[in-house]
């Protein structure tokens, strides 16, 4: 057993002593966690965040018997004013100047949204007020909806979308109450949950931390495994082992143990950082979460073996890992939700084991709702492990070819 343990120790020592490896395995995930948490970590904590939102009222001139459009404007105006002394308002509201052409203003604001300077652009279309009035009079008629423009690439926009959605449903209810069609007393009270606003808040860092930990495991497996095996093979380090009585299975046992130990170190590192530097509240001390973490580490390690088996050289292995790295990481919901993707990208999400593991881990921690059935969440990663093991056992070359 001693040889297996020492091989594991070799793997860990090598990874930690080599600066480049150390950077990618520990520093990079930590760096990303710090950056993302600093940028978005305070999102949802009222008073400390501020979204730039544009409001375009195209219904200002038209006849609106009750003044619904003005009501919507009032609501957002309210949100743009500080609610408590010395606190920043939730929104900074951008509106057309007096006499400015609404269409021109809208164009300008949509450009700003695309460039990330606005989190959302809300448009009250012409005829909105009368349409709402009409709806109140006869329940059949189709209403003219408010239009909310969001940026699909901005996390701030995702957050703002959530909040704007809540605000609009509040307005909606208010309209129904005024129409006498809705009695608040009878209603199932739909509590508005402000992100980070209550006591049982889900901090962004709680959402982010599990993703970061799995990203660490992922990078570790995708680059670390083929890197270590192929470089050691090509530099004839492995060959030196093969002239001793040590066998490939024992080497593999030591290697895997070392790899999982490195993932463990990574986990502890990121967890402590998340908890004590960013105030993460999630607890990983539950069987489902721990099993998902282990399943993740093993799946990504197996994936690394798959790459090592298919690549002829270490450089080819690294190139393959590089090509797979970004799409697998970003088409997985690791950093942001994956709704609204075109079908062909969705297909990648569905075969990508990262998707299942990230969602599975977050579900087990209670920071996200389940996007896949439990059978799939476990079955897809296990399928990848089986496939990788099969290919690696047939194709992986343990010694340099002549």
């Amino acid at each position: 057993m001693n040889d297996v343990f020492l091989l594991a120790r070799t793997y860990v020592a090598t990874a930690i002593r080599e600066r480049v490896t150390l950077f990618w395995f520990l520093i990079f995930p930590v760096f990303l966690l710090v950056v993302l948490a600093l940028i978005f970590g305070r999102v949802g904590q009222e008073g400390e965040i501020n979204f730039d939102v544009a409001l375009v009222n195209q219904d200002a001139g038209s006849s609106d018997p009750v003044g619904f459009a003005a009501m919507v404007v009032d609501v957002f105006d309210g949100l743009a004013k500080p609610q408590v002394e010395r606190q920043e308002p939730l929104f900074t509201l951008h509106r057309a100047d007096q006499g400015e052409d609404p269409a021109e203003f809208l164009d300008h604001e949509l450009t700003s949204l695309r460039r990330g300077r606005r989190a959302a652009v809300i448009v009250i279309p012409e005829g909105f007020g009368s349409s709402v009035f009409g709806q109140m009079a006869s329940s059949e008629s189709e209403g003219t909806p408010l239009i909310v423009y969001m940026s699909g690439t901005s996390v701030a926009s995702e957050m703002a979308a959530e909040i704007v959605g809540q605000v609009l449903s509040g307005i909606d209810r208010e309209i129904l109450v005024r129409a006498g069609r809705f009695d608040p007393a009878d209603a199932v009270t739909a509590e508005t949950v402000w992100l980070g606003g209550g006591d049982d808040e889900t901090l962004y860092v709680d959402f982010l931390l599990p993703g970061m930990i799995l990203m660490g495991f992922f990078v570790n497996g995708l680059f670390g495994v083929p890197g270590a095996i192929l470089f050691n093979r090509d530099r004839r380090i492995l060959r030196r082992y093969w002239v001793t009585p040590v066998s490939v299975p024992r080497y593999l046992a030591g290697f895997s143990l070392g790899h999982l130990a490195l993932c463990g170190i990574q986990f502890v590192f990121l967890f402590l950082l998340g908890r004590y530097a960013f105030g993460a509240t999630v607890s990983f001390a539950q069987p489902a979460a721990l099993l998902t973490l282990i399943l993740g580490a093993v799946t990504f390690m197996a994936f690394g073996f798959l790459i090592a088996a298919l690549a002829r050289t270490a450089n080819a292995g690294m190139a393959t890992a590089n090509i797979l790295n970004m799409p697998m990481m970003f088409l997985s919901g690791m950093f942001f939700p994956i709704t609204g993707l075109p079908a062909f990208l969705k297909a990648i999400v569905y075969v990508n084991p990262v998707s299942y593991l990230v969602n599975g881990l977050r579900v087990s921690l209670g920071v996200e709702s389940a996007a896949f059935s439990p059978a799939l969440a476990i079955g897809v990663p296990l399928g990848w492990i089986a496939l990788s093991a099969l290919v690696a056992s047939r194709k992986l070359k343990w010694d340099v070819e002549r």
Binding site: T10, A13, R17, R240, V243, T244
Partner: protein, 307 residues
């Protein structure tokens, strides 16, 4: 009484595609001796060794080692042998002591690590990372890793290639020391002075076959009473040198070095001096010597070892 053979190889064959890298090699290495495979690059030395080290399987042939007949080297055999690979690497971020501990863990009864470290003169470097070692130190570490199980049979594949003269001497003294302790050493080299200095038995390989074998003395004695005369003549054209051909048994020019082979040294020397006065050339670096293994190889193949 002759010592018994620790390793016996018969009719070893290994192909790589159409190339017969090892083409029916047979030899035996006696206990407590240095057995050397000498030959140019591509002669089949390394392939033969790789088969005996257990990292390649022969296409055919038989190996008898430690009195057991085998088709291929087993793990039990590996427990009793030590291997220095020609181009093996070490984890660069492991410390010398950690490397030794790791290799010791692969064997059932390793020797204490400090003992091995002092044997290869790396005690001072025990805490150093492999990547900080010099070429000679790395090679001594490799030798140490090959000795960690106190093996009876030791393979050293080109142990001094690429080393400076001092580092080469260090390895030579370790090899002599091992032989003194009763170990059997299988050595490959393409340095004829190394083969001459260390070997009890030399096997000369070319194109995957053995073309001659014997003790270094036996092999060079096959030249009979011949003597070699060597000098440098970089300023002369080949036309002027051709005149020398008639006054010796064999004559060759290798770069700037002229080598003459003669059975009548006084007569040849006289002719040479007469020729040098006539041509008005100085015989720079003139050496008169006995034939060496290089000459043997050359006379057998028409080529030099280090080509």
């Amino acid at each position: 009484m002759a010592k018994s053979a620790l390793l016996r190889v018969s009719d070893l064959v290994k192909h790589y595609g159409d190339v017969r890298a090892v083409d029916g090699i047979s030899f035996e290495a006696r206990t407590s001796s240095v057995f050397t495979l000498l030959g140019p690059n591509g002669a089949g030395k390394t392939t033969t060794l790789e088969i005996l080290e257990g990292i390649r399987e022969p296409d055919s042939g038989e190996i008898e080692v430690f009195d057991v007949r085998l088709k291929r080297i087993t793990r039990a055999v590996k427990q009793r042998m030590g291997v220095l690979l020609q181009d093996g690497g070490f984890e660069p971020y492991l410390k010398v002591r950690e490397v030794m501990r790791l290799f010791a863990s692969f064997f059932e009864s390793p020797v204490p690590i400090d003992e091995v470290l002092s044997q290869v003169a790396l005690t001072d470097k025990a805490g150093a990372l492999v990547r900080t070692l010099s070429g000679g130190q790395k090679q001594r570490l490799a030798v140490g890793a090959a000795l960690v199980n106190d093996p009876e049979l030791i393979f050293l594949d080109e142990p001094t290639t690429g080393l400076d003269p001092q580092a080469r001497r260090n390895i030579w003294s370790i090899v002599s020391d091992l032989k003194g302790r009763g170990k059997t050493i299988i050595l490959t080299t393409h340095y004829m002075e190394e083969a001459e200095a260390l070997s009890d038995w030399v096997c000369i390989l070319d194109h995957g076959t053995i073309i001659a074998q014997g003790t270094p003395r036996e092999l060079t004695q096959d030249f009979g009473e011949e003597t070699m005369i060597e000098f440098r003549a970089d300023e002369l054209g080949s036309g002027a040198l051709e005149a020398l051909r008639s006054c010796c048994k064999d004559f060759r020019i290798d770069g700037a070095t002229v080598t003459m082979e003669t059975e009548d040294l006084p007569a040849t020397m006289e002719s040479l001096f007469a020729w040098s006065r006539e041509q008005d050339v100085s015989l720079r670096n003139l050496i008169v010597r006995q034939p060496n293994l290089e000459d043997v190889f050359l006379s057998l193949t028409g080529r030099r070892l280090r080509e």
